[in-house]
């Protein structure tokens, strides 16, 4: 299958890419890893007249720890995050990077590309939401920082204007007593999640001091079920409080029925994933090393 013809433009800096987007107008799109864009173009769901290639812009692939924050370059491939020791100090980040699609897609796909695509079932959104990540954007009018929760506006829609790009994603590294986990259920590795749950807990002994929860594939964007967070906050973690949190989370969802399952199926699924993620997050908060895997069925 061949995409429609397009003109190719190689950007050597973000400033040049932004200038090209301004000059070429709405018919231009940017390409990074292309792992979503290329299939869309081959199926001719997308037929941009111009592609602005970001892949040859230097110094945009990095995983760095600076001033207590993790900084991720926009062109950083999922596989680089998966194998990064720095990123692995935040287990939920590793859960996410290592579980995206398959090896081949992870070696090309980029974190900023995934976030900017804003697929309702994308893996990064729920994880970056619970970590309260900041999206640093740059455009013709200068730079601005947008919290990830305000960055994701709707399905496939972000706060980015046409002439604006992500230049960095940063998040505060969780401290001692904090633990997180991200678990998704996918029909097979190659497809988007049917449901996913991201959790970051601050624990003091058996008591949950604060909880951050986000769910993927449960609405038009990743959702943050605040009642589920409230059900855990200030409470000891046990079967009762975990069930209360899962019930509150399920009530907050509006999953779309599709070929991956009915709304009821997805809601039940996300409740189970959330309970598993809470219990892994709590163990990690206590300093245990716990490996998790997505569920494939």
């Amino acid at each position: 299958m061949y995409p429609r013809p397009f003109e190719y433009h190689r950007a050597s800096s973000l400033a040049e890419a932004i200038a090209l987007l301004a000059q070429l107008g709405a018919e231009a799109k940017v390409i990074a890893g292309g792992q979503s864009l290329i299939p869309l173009m081959k199926l001719r769901f997308a037929s941009p007249a111009h592609l602005v290639d970001l892949n040859f812009i230097p110094k945009l692939e990095y995983v760095e720890q600076r001033d207590g924050a993790l900084r991720l370059g926009p062109l950083t491939r999922h596989s680089q995050i998966e194998s990064s020791e720095t990123a692995s100090r935040i287990p939920i980040v590793h859960d996410c990077a290592a579980g995206i699609a398959d090896v081949q897609v992870r070696s090309q796909g980029t974190i900023a590309g995934s976030l900017a695509e804003a697929d309702p079932s994308g893996d990064w959104a729920p994880v970056l939401i619970v970590l309260d990540a900041q999206v640093h954007c740059v455009g013709a009018k200068g730079e601005r920082t947008v919290p990830v929760r305000e960055f994701l506006l709707d399905a496939y829609t972000t706060a980015l204007s046409h002439e604006e790009l992500i230049r960095d994603i940063s998040l505060k590294i969780p401290g001692r007593g904090s633990g997180g986990a991200y678990i998704a259920s996918k029909r097979c590795p190659q497809v988007y999640a049917s449901a996913s749950a991201a959790v970051q807990l601050n624990m003091s002994g058996d008591v949950c001091e604060s909880a951050s929860i986000a769910l993927g594939a449960m609405g038009l964007t990743a959702i943050r079920p605040t009642e589920a967070e409230a059900a855990l906050t200030g409470k000891p973690l046990n079967e009762t409080t975990m069930k209360q949190a899962a019930d509150a989370a399920m009530a907050a969802t509006e999953p779309q029925p599709d070929m991956r399952g009915s709304a009821e199926y997805k809601r039940t699924l996300v409740g189970a994933l959330l309970r598993e993620a809470i219990s892994v997050a709590a163990r990690r908060a206590r300093g245990e090393t716990v490996a998790v895997s997505h569920h494939y069925a």
């Binding site: 299958m1 061949y2 995409p3 429609r4 013809p5 397009f6 003109e7 190719y8 190689r10 390409i31 292309g34 792992q35 290329i38 299939p39 173009m41 081959k42 199926l43 592609l51 290639d53 892949n55 040859f56 596989s79 699609a101 398959d102 090896v103 081949q104 897609v105 070696s107 090309q108 590795p189 190659q190």
Partner: protein, 166 residues
């Protein structure tokens, strides 16, 4: 629509340098099969699902049906044709042959390169490592069991010969 302006691509495929001019929409798999006549790389699903088109780009497995040729500019590519050396099968190929890691063979070129990438990273992979490594490669014949056996056997053979899988 008139044909878009062609773009130059410089790439090293299986150790051999190539300089070409291609249409921007040329996919890497098309560059390999149609322009360089390297038809060992197969197109299966053509939608980034099956992994039959897997090649190594600067050592990392990619689906060549889901990559524009320009993304391989200035890069090194290895295809299934690059595995055999002087008429001798690569240990991974030899293990697939000995352990019946294929039936129809359509997925094999991609499977071999995903396996090689794994064995370059992990000389003694676990069962989970093997399964994760080929999660992006579909086989519709074997049921995978013999592929797992073949990859473990290849790992053993490469450890014995101290081969790094070059």
């Amino acid at each position: 629509m008139p044909e878009a302006k062609r773009i130059p691509i410089r790439t090293k495929v299986n150790g051999k340098e190539h300089v070409l001019e291609v249409e921007p929409r040329t996919l890497l798999v098309e560059l390999l099969r149609e322009h360089l006549d390297l038809t060992g790389t197969h197109i299966g699903c053509d939608t980034s699902f099956c992994g039959a088109c897997t090649v190594l780009l600067n050592g990392a497995p990619v689906k060549s049906c889901t990559l524009f040729a320009f993304q391989a500019d200035q890069a090194e590519i290895m295809t299934v044709e690059g595995l055999e050396r002087e008429g001798k099968l690569h240990p991974v190929q030899q293990a697939f042959a000995e352990h019946h890691g294929l039936q129809c063979g359509y997925c094999t070129p991609g499977m071999l390169l995903s396996a090689l990438h794994l064995l370059r990273q992990k000389r003694n992979p676990s069962e989970v490592d093997v399964r994760k490594a080929i999660a992006g490669n579909c086989c519709r014949c074997t049921g995978y069991q013999n592929i797992f056996k073949a990859i473990h056997a290849a790992a053993e053979s490469m450890r014995e010969t101290a081969s790094h899988g070059d």
